[in-house]
Symmetry: C2
Subunit: 298 residues, 2 copies
């Protein structure tokens, strides 16, 4: 019988992402023991009850003992504190990875705690998720046909990189390598900025209308926006703080374009208005978009 | 056998909205003959072939002959030209209505062509639709559990109002009366502004990235936005022009809030950032949203 890819996997933060990773690897028969760690004992107990992990501990110094792979799947703002506790207790050959929505801040956290960039650290980011959170929301097929971006550094060992790549491929994901800054720029554009727009739109309308009438007339366009605004505020707060520079740049770019459109509307420049919409539709229709469907938890 | 509500219905613009209205009324057995009119003969031929209308003509002076109800379902920018042709040919007791996404401009068009507001004119707006267009996209259940807003004027006769109300109710829609300005303000907030944001976001990103890479990494948030940006550019151009005043006001409000958020991010004001997101999530989660599901054409 072949050995599973990972004998012992530690997951710190057994939520939607951490839990789904565990489920996917178990279903693939590629993980031996899964140990969960984190703060919320209710969630960890549920994780054991649901068979997502084998055992848990709220003592982070214990959770990484003897682990071959340690996955940090906590909010970005909590990563440094987790690292400070676990780093002295990692096995010599343990591979450390994460699932944070921004990579620059995580790399900085690791460098700050270690004093250098360790060879066994592989920064990663699975582009997947729903507005749900917690282990109860996790499911084994979350990453199928999704992309996972790894941002290996110059210091990252090929072995560690390959292991984490393989780990994610076993969940059904397509793994892509990217530079740290490039990742943060692409995510600022395709994920962080859209979330800022959604939150702002909902907030603007909510403060405008205390009788909730506006929300009653919400149809297609607004509904999509509001779904995004149901996302976890803490997680998105952390992303704003972590990817601050790239996000501010994208907001500025967007603002300039929105102002240009407003100016065209103000000036009744119909050609410019039509042009903007046609260009956007063409971009949307012509460029290849993933055929992945929204994930529905089984 | 009871008489159908409408003996002869003329639909000018047999697209998604006009076509679906015809299908719904036929299925309810509440319309006798449906006559279609418009410019695109291919679409009108298809409408006959699909059984959506009984016959068509590209001569608008003919299409309204003997019609009890005339539905103008063309883009906002085309309404005035249509009115100029058909008004002299409307039957004395014909009821005139429309489906435009803004109401102020349509009322102004009617008043301009007639020289006054006729009693038999009932401005209307079905809050429904998909990104598709044309009669092939139409289906009978489009309006079920959707809202239709009517904006009857002081001059509007109760009989005409009641007829159009009943017509829409027969399609399964919930009919609501509203003032013209109020309608345009609510729609500017819940529909027109979100579309402007979606178009602008796609345009900003498309111009940033000619290698289409950004679009390949589009996941949840961005994908929703891009779907909206697939909407018909001409229709949305017309809405911008028609609802210019309200839309500019909403854009200004939104811009101010986005700038406030950017400032909080710039200043690293974490409490303000978190506050915005929590407020938006609360608004989204607590306020009653229609349980209507996205329509899937049968």
């Amino acid at each position: 019988m072949t050995q599973p890819l990972i004998q012992r996997l530690s997951i710190i933060g057994v939520g939607l992402i951490g839990g789904s990773l565990a489920r996917a690897l178990r279903e693939a028969g590629e993980v031996g023991e899964v140990v969960g760690g984190g703060r919320g004992e209710d969630n960890l107990r549920a994780a054991v009850r649901l068979g997502v992990i084998d055992r848990y501990t709220t003592d982070l110094t214990q959770v990484v003992a003897g682990a071959d792979v340690v996955m940090i799947a906590v909010p970005l703002g909590a990563i440094e504190a987790v690292l400070r506790v676990i780093v002295p207790h990692l096995a010599a050959d343990a591979v450390l990875t994460d699932a944070g929505s921004a990579k620059g801040s995580v790399v900085a956290d690791v460098e700050r705690v270690y004093g250098y960039i360790p060879a066994h650290f592989v920064p990663g980011h699975p582009i997947a998720g729903t507005e749900q959170s917690g282990v109860e929301a996790s499911f084994a097929t979350l990453f199928q046909r999704r992309r996972v971006i790894l941002t290996p550094l110059a210091e990252t060992s090929a072995t560690a990189h390959q292991l984490i790549r393989r780990m994610w491929e076993l969940t059904g994901a397509e793994v892509v390598d990217m530079g740290v800054r490039h990742h943060d720029a692409v995510l600022a554009a395709t994920s962080h900025l859209p979330h800022m727009l959604a939150y702002t739109l909902v907030d603007t309308l909510a403060r405008l209308d205390d009788r909730a009438e506006i929300f009653r007339y919400a149809a297609g366009g607004f509904r999509d926006f509001t779904r995004i605004a149901s996302s976890d505020p803490q997680m998105w707060h952390d992303i704003c703080v972590a990817n601050r520079e790239q996000l501010l740049e994208m907001i500025a770019l967007f603002n300039a374009d929105l102002e240009r459109l407003a100016e065209a509307i103000r000036a009744d420049d119909r050609a410019a208005i039509l042009d903007t919409f046609q260009r956007a539709k063409r971009a949307r229709d012509n460029l290849y978009l993933e055929p992945s469907l929204p994930h529905v938890a089984p």
